[in-house]
């Protein structure tokens, strides 16, 4: 899809061969494409409008840098503005600077992931922040909701408030805070029943709970698949209970997640965490860069490699991405990748100009790629027969000696290469398990640096 967007923008700007500054008419046309891309990603319309107005003003008159096309230039401006609108590169952590017990209130629509996220947070606060945590379910609405939280608390090895039948949510909240004070808990996570923003009775109820417990954080838990309604929900909850942070769940799905932008724009509250699965470990800090890429749908290997430089042959990149996706990756491909890495290394400064690629350039730098090593490895592979490249398992001692001699290296060098290739294949298999989106999320940087993630 991003390829489509990128392609469209390239068309828009194709006639603008003279480079120079971005002209108003061309920018307008580009903004129409951006608008559609954002709407397809479920960014709410009023938010799209504001965003486009802002970006348009920014883009008009900008000088196009020689190394990139005007289309790429616009995408970069859009991407950067998106990162900005999502809260900028700074991560806003949970606020735990308050006297214990610190109440954290979880709110949101039915089925958005509040209870699961409460369990996840419990685990995280216990293990990472080393806090003594109490979970309390105020959900008297959904059948077995309190039991659900209790079971999650057991799994997370944190305490949960004993279930007392017949209490109102407000009574449970009071009992939770009293228990926490008496038994000296650091944090109390208050899970609430899902409620519709237009349900006055239930919105009043949660407002009363807030009054009673004075939460340090009120986290609005939102499904990443949410459509245009995100603005209504965000506005209503923010008005009634004052949202201090947003948690986006189901980011392990393939929704583009435009709701993140809508929520953030309406509440002004930072997106603090994202849910990446049903397991209790699957909670991470929010990364605006990744989500911006996702909203623009540029988070795929092909797109990234394409943009990384016109130096890298596009066909090769596509083939490679497909092979990775199919779990078929051999030494032949490894050799090609080595070539590409070498090329990209040489165009580092160019890469950093491109949208979403700032980090990639950084990673290339951090990876500290040793070019002589790359050349040596390329030489080793070129001394292999095609059959050997496809099936490295057949490389026994005698073949290794032949290859070492042929490439002017040692058998040790050959072994090292094979080991590295092995590691890389394992990593790719793991990424395949995450699916192509997982691969996309991890980005090419992970491939280059061999970093675990």
């Amino acid at each position: 899809m991003f390829e489509a967007l990128s392609g469209k923008l390239t068309q828009v700007f194709d006639r603008l061969r003279g480079r120079g500054a971005l002209r108003e008419a061309d920018v307008d046309e580009a903004m129409r494409e951006i608008r559609l891309a954002l709407l397809d990603a479920d960014v709410a319309l009023p938010v799209v409008r504001d965003f486009i107005t802002k970006v348009r003003a920014e883009a008009v008159g900008q000088q196009v840098i020689a190394a990139v096309s005007p289309g790429q230039m616009v995408v970069k401006i859009v991407h950067d503005a998106l990162v900005d609108a999502l809260g900028g590169p700074e991560v806003v952590p949970l606020d735990l600077n308050a006297p214990a017990p610190i109440p954290i209130l979880m709110v949101g629509l039915q089925g958005s992931g509040k209870t699961t996220t409460t369990g996840k947070l419990g685990l995280r606060l216990r293990t990472r922040a080393r806090r003594k945590v109490l979970l309390a379910s105020l959900d008297t609405q959904r059948p077995a909701a309190q039991l659900q939280l209790q079971q999650l608390a057991e799994r997370a090895e944190v305490a949960s408030l004993p279930i007392v039948a017949g209490e109102t949510p407000l009574q449970i909240a009071r009992r939770a805070m009293e228990t926490a004070r008496r038994e000296v808990y650091d944090v109390v996570l208050l899970d609430t029943a899902g409620r519709l923003s237009i349900d006055d009775a239930l919105m009043n109820e949660v407002a009363a709970i807030r009054e009673e417990t004075k939460p340090v954080e009120t986290l609005l838990v939102v499904d990443a698949m949410t459509g245009q309604d995100a603005v209504n929900t965000a506005r209503a909850f923010n008005e009634r209970v004052g949202v201090t942070g947003i948690v986006m769940t189901r980011m392990d799905g393939d929704a583009r997640g435009g709701a993140a932008l809508s929520m953030r724009a309406v509440t002004g509250a930072p997106i603090k965490l994202i849910g990446l699965g049903e397991k209790l470990e699957a909670l991470e800090e929010f990364n605006p860069g990744r989500v911006a890429g996702r909203i623009l749908d540029m988070g795929d290997v092909v797109g990234l490699v394409e943009r990384a430089a016109e130096v890298v042959e596009q066909e090769e990149a596509e083939k490679l991405a497909k092979k990775i996706a199919r779990g078929k990756f051999d030494l032949e491909d490894y050799a090609k990748q080595l070539q590409q890495i070498t090329k990209m290394g040489s165009v580092q400064s160019l890469i950093s100009m491109l949208p979403g690629a700032g980090k990639l350039a950084q990673q290339i730098e951090n990876a500290n790629i040793d070019k002589t090593m790359l050349k040596r490895q390329a030489a080793i592979i070129s001394s292999m027969t095609p059959a050997e490249r496809r099936n490295p398992d057949m490389l026994k001692a005698s073949r290794k000696r032949r290859i070492a001699a042929g490439s002017g290296t040692t058998a040790q060098d050959v072994n090292r290469l094979l080991k590295q290739f092995d590691d890389m294949s394992t990593m790719m298999k793991r990424m395949n398990k995450l699916g192509q989106k997982g691969l996309a999320r991890a980005g090419l940087g992970a491939l280059l640096s061999g970093r675990r993630f």
Partner: protein
């Protein structure tokens, strides 16, 4: 059924206020020109029809009424008239076939959409018709999912077949079908764990449930219902696409239409897939299930005045 429209409408009235204001402001005694059409298109986009379908609907309106002086109710009615025929062909209630006994319904969908609750609602509906209904707690994954369904069993007077936590859902579904046959139950409603469609292993697990059930009855499950949350945006298209490819979904139920979300994605889905929409969920209680009424749904999307009584 007296409570239903009132209740549904109370919710919808609130949720349509914004859209109403939008169309109202745009179109009271006004020429239907480019600007007006653009505003209408925006209103439809805000209802989650998606930019492409919204553009289609408005293009249709342009063909018939461009340049005319129109009033607000007129234009809403015209919009509803364009949308209703898109929805009409997919409105098909769930109808258990007595000859199938037990008629097997498998509920599938992404996490948290309302599968379990909808099973409770369907059970309520069919129990009221004097049918015997058995439920199978094949969500063996989520914490307290079994207990949740058991509460629905108690509420509706149905037996629930459950196994150990973490048990193989296909095995459980198989055992439940065996029991439903032995007991000569009219219906078997199988609850499954929510799963994201992009998780291949979980989708494969669902396909396995279907395969295993077919060993007992090659025709079962007779209905495979994908439950969609009305707040879902464009991702619903991917959901339908992949669930259908993996388990041959036979129809949809759209939940949470009592909220502020308008569920406009249903129009896009009807256009693209033509899958039956069996019912809509309008609340958390057992009797909060309604037939899918295309004219009423279309009218509510654009807040057209002549809201037909059921």
């Amino acid at each position: 059924m007296s409570g239903f429209l009132g209740r549904l409408r109370a919710g919808l009235a609130r949720s349509t206020q914004k859209l109403t204001a939008g169309i109202g402001a745009a179109l009271t005694r006004r020429k239907l020109d480019d600007a007006a059409l653009a505003e209408l298109e925006d209103a439809l986009i805000s209802a989650d029809l998606g930019p492409a379908v919204a553009a289609d609907v408005v293009a249709n309106l342009r063909r018939t009424r461009f340049g005319r002086d129109v009033t607000e109710p007129e234009i809403r009615a015209a919009l509803a008239d364009i949308i209703t025929p898109i929805l009409a062909p997919v409105a098909k209630p769930l109808e258990p076939e007595p000859a199938n006994r037990p008629h097997v319904v498998l509920m599938v969908g992404v996490n948290g959409t309302g599968k379990t609750t909808t099973i409770g609602k369907l059970a309520q509906l069919w129990r009221a018709e004097g049918k015997t209904v058995l439920m199978a707690a094949a969500d063996t994954f989520r914490a307290a999912a079994v207990e949740q369904l058991q509460v629905w069993g108690q509420r509706t007077g149905c037996e629930v077949v459950a196994g150990a936590a973490g048990a193989d859902p296909a095995g459980l579904a198989y055992a439940a079908l065996e029991r439903a046959r032995n007991e000569n139950a009219d219906l078997l409603l199988i609850d499954t764990a929510g799963r994201l469609h992009n998780k291949t292993a979980l989708m494969e697990e669902l396909a396995k449930i279907v395969r295993v059930i077919r060993k007992l009855d090659p025709e079962a499950p007779h209905d495979i219902v994908l439950v969609l949350d009305a707040t879902t945006g464009q991702n619903a298209i991917a959901q339908v696409e992949i669930f259908r490819a993996m388990v041959n979904v036979t129809g949809l139920i759209v939940t949470k239409l009592d909220g502020s979300a308008r569920g406009g994605i249903v129009v896009a889905l009807a256009k693209k897939f033509g899958l039956p929409v069996h019912a809509v969920g309008v609340g958390e209680q057992a009797d909060d299930l309604r037939p899918f009424d295309p004219a009423a749904f279309a009218a509510d999307l654009v807040d057209a005045p002549e809201h037909r009584e059921a």
